[in-house]
Each structure stands twice: as structure tokens, then as C-alpha cells.
């Protein structure tokens, strides 16, 4: 069995090396048959990775502890689902998952590309092949999941805090997102290597970027929800290096998704877009490196993990190679058009890009700061949440307001009078909701109040845009309002899908602002019968229980909850003592209010029959964050959905070119 896995990986590596060598040779000498053979090698490498993954999965399910990997990450009593999740629980397995997804995506991109952009594939295949070479080489030579030992009776087991449903879904989503960013990168490099100056690579990879970006975004929200519900310190994001690792490529991809529209529509920002796609891919690699190299569990030592230096080397090669390629193709990337006015749709896209990238770089700086200072001063210096929160406000608030301005402003050059007319409504809504909020007491946090006013502005401007479009559509085609609305969205999926995503970001902002700027925290020691107040809530300690669960002693404090005199029930915050693992896990109790999205979050410590130390948090609107996740995916799906009209436009624009290339 392990031999089969090892052999499959070696075959995969061999095929990828062949895809690179044959692909380059074929592209240089324009040999079509050879180029197709290189493409087929990429397709076959997927089968190799599939076999290897199958071997590891079988070993996991059979509890085959002669595999070091299986022994290290599972145990006999581990439930089946978590035995499967151990696949990506360790370094070797998650690298194999990377390879599997990478080869799968590459194969799909090759198959789809044969139809839509065969002329681009020639140089794209060697780039894809090179990335596959790197990962399969790591798995063959540096971190093999198929190392064996004398069979053991039982495995070491999985960390209890990771034994929950979120860990089944959260890591694969992030990996799908990370890996997905490889495809646009490969096509961009392929276009440059082929000395193509057109926008075909942008058009072909738009959906790939969108899918990767959607999965990455959703995966992060899953992670945030896991932290909120399972880790239970009352927050959902802590600017931890791992979290930042996933946020950075997402921000870069967000910038890319916006700026490619400018390239498609106006032929501008070509160099910038290539830089962004390289940056997003490099950051995805960096993210995998951070989560997988062990550098974050020990920020001190780079060399602790065997794959760390390899990853850094590869990131270096990717960045240096791509930059060299871009520099050598600068003449191709000259824009034909220039920015006509700083007040235009293009300009707002540009500002949005600058803010997103500036934010991304500040996070990168914060993550790298301990490493840099250790190299320069001999001792690592870390920056904490205040650093990141400052930049979140400094860049996030302007980004928010741009989301309201961008969609309504004219292309090329907007007249100031026109602007006044367009924005009268949204500005009016924003100011009046700001005043209402102020009257309601939102002035306790100025950034919060400003943020909410901006949110109102964006929502009003999105609503205005939908209303304007629907009424125009109805005037054109007649019919009912809902029908006109459906037609509007259906005919401009990309645009209105984008607005739905904007609405999701506003929901997210409302939730984040509510739960961070307007939250309340109180902590107090309570004896039985004593109570404490927080907001409108009154919390009374009734006593403690202790039960033996499946593999833990579950201690709970019974807390009666009342709001404004009305009984809401009993919450049971507490601790689980995992006996075998000798580990305690905090089990926070959460009461969500469906109507206003507010959470009451309880953490109980030092629980005994005589007293409890209770920490209570009230987090207004926090549930909008999770709702935003679904709206986000919905909007992204609308923007992704295949569109026959778009296909026809595409065929008209690039069809002749492709026909020539094929001849």
C-alpha cells in the first residue's frame, strides 16, 4: 500500500516534469502534437495525485498505524468523520490535499482552456507543470505522507479543540481558495511568455479568480465562526498570523477582481493586474507556508520544519521569476489609454485598489515584523491588534464609502453637477440615519458612528442603483416590477452579483462595528442566588453541575437569564476536562437574539457549588457577520453563473484570433 502511494507521487512528479519540459519545447517550436501531449501529462498527473490521496484515505479509514502519518494524527476511538479530517490535519496530508486540488484544477483549466483559449494554453501548461513539480517534489522527497514504521496498537489522536464540524470544512475551503489562485497566475504568466498583449487571459480566468476568492472568503468566515463558538474568548478574529495568512491573498484577489474590469473595459492597468495576480498567488503560497511550516507555533525558528526553507525558496523563485518576466515584457503591457479624470468610475476603482493593497501590505508588514526585527536587532518585536485595528479603520472606512460611490459614478469623466444629482438621495439617507443613530446613542463610538453612516450611504446607493435599473428595464420591456428586476439581474449578472457582494460586505461591516465598537463586557464572582447585570440582561447563578461525558468531565454553571424582567431561560457555560488528553476546553454559552442579531456570550471559570467567576459579553449585531457569509456566496454565485450572451460576445471578440491561432 504505501509503495503504491509513493509510486503514484513519483509518477505525478515525472509527469509534471515532462509537462514543463515538453510544454516549453513545444511552445518554442510550435509543435501542436507535443503541446497536446504536455497537456495530457497535466491531466494524468491528476490521476496520480488521486491514487496517492486514495491510498492515504484508505490507510486513515483502516486505522493502519504502520503509516507514521496515520499513527500521529488519529486514534482508534476517533469518530469516523474526524479520521477523514486528519487527512488535512498534518503537514504531509495537507500538502497532498494541495497537490490533489492543484492537479484537479489544472486538469479542469486545461480541458476548459482547450475550448475557450487554446492559443493561451501553450505557455500556461509549463507554468502549471512547474507548480505541480514543486508540490509533488516536496511530497516525494521532503515530507512524504507514506513513511512507514512498525505497526502500533493505537495512534496518538487528534487535538480535542479540532474535533468539531468546523474543522471538517474550514481547512478544505481555504485550500481550495489558495490553490484556485494558481490558475489565473498560470494563465497570466502563460500570456506573457507567449508575448500576448490582449486581455484574453483576464477573460478566461475571471471565473477561476471569482471561485477561488469566494471559497477563500467563505472559508475565513467559517474559521471566524469556529473561533467564536468553539474557542470561546468572545471574539472571532484576533489578527493572528494564521488568520492574516488567509486574509492577505483574499485582499489581493479582491483588488484584482476590481482592477481587471478596468483592463477589460478600458485597456488600462495591465502591469498592475499582472503584479496583483502574482502577488495573490505568492501570498497564497505564503499563507500555506505560515499555516504549515510551524513558523507560527514558534515564531523564533525558521528551520524547525523541514518544508519551511523549500517554501520560502519557491516563493522567492515565483516572485523573482514573474517580476523578471514582467520587466522583459514591459513594452507589451503599455496601456493604450490614460486616466481621463480623477473623478470617474475608473478612478474609484484605482482608489479602491490602492486602499486594498495598502491594507494588505500593512498586514504583511505586521506579520513579517517579528522576523525582520529579529534579523536586524537580534530580538523579535511583535505588533498587536491595536496596530491592525488602526489600519482597518484607516483603510476600511474609505473603502466602504468608495463602495457607495463607485457604482453610481460615470465612466471616463463625471461632471460635478451630475454627481450632485446622483448622490443627493444616498447622501440624504446617510445623513439622516447618522442623525437618528446619534439620537439613539451611537455617539459613544465615533468610528462606529462614522462607519454606520457610511454603511447607510452604501446601502442607499446600492438600493438606488437597483431601483434605477429596474425602472429603466420596465420602461424598456414592460411587464411587472419583479419580472423587470429578475431580467435586470439576469442580463447583468456580473454587475448586480457584484452589488450583492457589496451589500454582504456592508452587512459584515455592520456586524463587525456593532460587536466591536458597541459591545459591553462585565466580569464578576457570583455565589449561588447572586446576580449581576449587563445591559438589559440580569444573570443569576443557580449552581453547578458535573457530568461524565463520552471522553470528558463536563462541568457547567447554571445561569438564569432575564431581560427587562422577562425570563429567557438558563444558559450553561462551563469547561470540559478531557481526561485522556489532560486538557481543559472552554465551553462558552451563547444566546442569540434572532430579531436584532445580538448575542449574550457567557464564559464561566472556577466553577464550584459555592461560586463561579462569570464573564459576560453583549455583542450587538454580531449575527449579521454570519448572515453576510451567505449573502456573499449568493452574490458571488450570481456573478459566476454562466451567461450565454457573454459567451457570444466573447466568441465575437476573440473568435477570429483563436481561429488564426489554430490554423
Amino acid at each position: 500500500m504505501p509503495e503504491l502511494g509513493r509510486a503514484a507521487l513519483i509518477v505525478c512528479l515525472g509527469l509534471a516534469v515532462y509537462a514543463v519540459a515538453a510544454g516549453i519545447f513545444a511552445a518554442r517550436t510550435r509543435r501542436r502534437r507535443l503541446a497536446e501531449s504536455a497537456q495530457n501529462a497535466v491531466l494524468a498527473s491528476f490521476l496520480g495525485a488521486l491514487v496517492a490521496a486514495g491510498v492515504l484515505l484508505t490507510a486513515l479509514l483502516r486505522n493502519d498505524f504502520s503509516f507514521v502519518y496515520v499513527w500521529r494524527h488519529t486514534s482508534l476511538e476517533l469518530p469516523r468523520a474526524y479520521t477523514v479530517s486528519a487527512f488535512w490535519g498534518g503537514q504531509e496530508g495537507s500538502l497532498l490535499l494541495w497537490l490533489l486540488v492543484l492537479t484537479g484544477f489544472s486538469a479542469a483549466a486545461v480541458l476548459l482552456g482547450r475550448r475557450s483559449a487554446p492559443s493561451l494554453l501553450a505557455w500556461t501548461v509549463p507554468v502549471l507543470g512547474a507548480v505541480i513539480v514543486f508540490f509533488s517534489f516536496l511530497l516525494v522527497a521532503v515530507a512524504s505522507p507514506f513513511t512507514t514504521q512498525a505497526a502500533q496498537a493505537d495512534g496518538l489522536g487528534l487535538n480535542p479543540s479540532l474535533q468539531n464540524p468546523y474543522m471538517l470544512a474550514h481547512p478544505p475551503f481555504l485550500y481550495l481558495g489558495f490553490v484556485g489562485l494558481t490558475i489565473p497566475f498560470a494563465f497570466a504568466m502563460g500570456a506573457l511568455l507567449a508575448r500576448r498583449a490582449d486581455e484574453l487571459w483576464v477573460v478566461v480566468t475571471r471565473r477561476w479568480t471569482l471561485v477561488a476568492w469566494m471559497l477563500l472568503g467563505f472559508g475565513q468566515l467559517l474559521g471566524a465562526h469556529w473561533a467564536y463558538v468553539e474557542v470561546g474568548w468572545g471574539g472571532y478574529f484576533a489578527w493572528d498570523p494564521v488568520e492574516n495568512a488567509a486574509l492577505m491573498p483574499w485582499l489581493a484577489a479582491t483588488a484584482f477582481l476590481h482592477s481587471v474590469m478596468i483592463q477589460e473595459k478600458r485597456g488600462m492597468l495591465k502591469i498592475w493586474n499582472v503584479l496583483l495576480v502574482v502577488g495573490a498567488f505568492a501570498l497564497a503560497l505564503f499563507g500555506t507556508f505560515l499555516t504549515r511550516s510551524g513558523i507560527l507555533s514558534s515564531i523564533h525558528s525558521f528551520t524547525e520544519s523541514s518544508i519551511g526553507p523549500w517554501f520560502l525558496g519557491f516563493i522567492g523563485v515565483v516572485v523573482a521569476g514573474s517580476l523578471a518576466l514582467i520587466v522583459s515584457r514591459l513594452t507589451l503591457l503599455r496601456s493604450k489609454t490614460r486616466l481621463e479624470s480623477p473623478v470617474s468610475r475608473e478612478a474609484t476603482f484605482l482608489y479602491n485598489n490602492l486602499l486594498l493593497i495598502a491594507f494588505c501590505l500593512t498586514i504583511l508588514w505586521g506579520v513579517a515584523y517579528p522576523i525582520l526585527t529579529e534579523a536586524l536587532r537580534g530580538e523579535p518585536v511583535t505588533v498587536g491588534p491595536p496596530y491592525y485595528n488602526f489600519f482597518l479603520k484607516a483603510f476600511g472606512l474609505p473603502l466602504l464609502i468608495l463602495m457607495g460611490i463607485g457604482p453610481l459614478i460615470a465612466w471616463r469623466r463625471a461632471s460635478l453637477r451630475g454627481l450632485g444629482r446622483t448622490f443627493a438621495w444616498p447622501i440624504g439617507v446617510a445623513i439622516s440615519s447618522g442623525l437618528v443613530l446619534l439620537a439613539l446613542g451611537a455617539g459613544s463610538s465615533i468610528p462606529g458612528l462614522v462607519g454606520y453612516t457610511f454603511c447607510a450611504f452604501v446601502l442607499a446607493s446600492i438600493g438606488f442603483e437597483f431601483a434605477r435599473g429596474t425602472s429603466a428595464r420596465r420602461a424598456l420591456a414592460g411587464g411587472s416590477w419583479p419580472a423587470a428586476f429578475a431580467q435586470l439581474v439576469g442580463r447583468n449578472r456580473r454587475r448586480y452579483g457584484g452589488y450583492v457582494v457589496h451589500a454582504a460586505i456592508v452587512l459584515l461591516a455592520i456586524g463587525v462595528i456593532g460587536s466591536s465598537a458597541y459591545d459591553t463586557t462585565r466580569e464578576q464572582r457570583l455565589r449561588p442566588g447572586e446576580s449581576m447585570g449587563i445591559g438589559d440582561y440580569r444573570l443569576t447563578f443557580r449552581g453547578a453541575t458535573s457530568e461524565r461525558g463520552a471522553n470528558a468531565v463536563e462541568v457547567r454553571a447554571l445561569i438564569d437569564v432575564e431581560r427587562s424582567g422577562k425570563r429567557l431561560g438558563t444558559l450553561r457555560p462551563g469547561k470540559n476536562n478531557y481526561v485522556a488528553e489532560q486538557q481543559v476546553s472552554n465551553e462558552a454559552a451563547i444566546r442569540s437574539d434572532r430579531l436584532n442579531g445580538e448575542d449574550l456570550f457567557l464564559i464561566a471559570e472556577q466553577i464550584s457549588a459555592e461560586s463561579v467567576f462569570l464573564k459576560a459579553l453583549v455583542k450587538p449585531l454580531v449575527n449579521l457577520i454570519w448572515l453576510a457569509g451567505f449573502v456573499f456566496v449568493g452574490g458571488a454565485l450570481i456573478a459566476l453563473w454562466p451567461d450565454a450572451r457573454e459567451q457570444r460576445r466573447f466568441a465575437l471578440r476573440y473568435g477570429r484570433h483563436e481561429a488564426l491561432a489554430r490554423a
Binding site: S297, T382, G384, P386, Q582, N586, I603, E605
Partner: protein
């Protein structure tokens, strides 16, 4: 411009040095201490303070620590932790609520806060 701004904020505004107990010798000012919890843990994090000794992860120098505030799940003797604070009269007085545990080496996918 951004670079200058970043340099300024990160040097002037906050940012705490990360040290091992062995590097502490008599140094004042707020630092983040990284080390392994050794020996017995006594006291009460919600009362007079949790008391324990923190040793270099690979070394022998240790320093007594007093800590108040929330204690992460993974905290116990033998674990590697980070805590912010200041050395006062030979004892490291931690800032309440700043303790973080490092992940145990196995399954290092996520942190515990």
C-alpha cells in the same frame, strides 16, 4: 509614502519585543515573554494572581511570573506560553489577560486564545 508611514507607526507606536527568560536579565519596560511553564502552578488567576515559573524553551534560566485574568485552555505545566508584562524586583508582573499558549506541536493548524 506608505513605507515611511509603516516604519514610523511600527517603531513609534507600540510593538513589544519578544524575549526569552534568559534574555530578560534586569531589563525594564514592557516585553512579551516566551517560555515553558515549569514546576507547580499555584495561586488564583481571579484573586491574588496565578504564580508559576517560566523557563527558556531550550535552556535553564527561569523567572517567576505573576498573572491575573483569563487563562487559556491549553495552559498547564510543560506548555509553551507567551505573556506580556514587565520585570519588577525579580518577578515578572504580567499584564492581565495577555497570556497566550502556543499550539502543541501536533496539529499546529490553529491557535488557542
Amino acid at each position: 509614502m506608505l513605507a515611511v508611514f509603516l516604519l514610523y507607526t511600527s517603531i513609534a507606536g507600540g510593538g513589544t519585543p519578544q524575549l526569552r527568560p534568559g534574555e530578560l536579565n534586569g531589563r525594564t519596560g514592557e516585553v512579551t515573554l516566551v517560555g515553558k511553564v515549569v514546576g507547580r502552578v499555584t495561586g488564583d488567576a481571579r484573586g491574588s494572581g496565578l504564580r508559576f515559573r517560566l523557563r527558556d524553551v531550550e535552556g535553564t534560566t527561569a523567572v517567576p511570573v505573576v498573572y491575573r485574568g483569563s487563562v487559556p485552555d491549553m495552559f498547564r505545566s510543560g506548555r509553551d506560553i507567551l505573556v506580556r508584562g514587565e520585570l519588577q524586583n525579580g518577578t515578572f508582573k504580567a499584564v492581565p489577560g495577555t497570556m497566550k499558549t502556543k499550539c502543541p506541536s501536533k496539529y499546529s493548524a490553529k491557535k488557542e486564545t
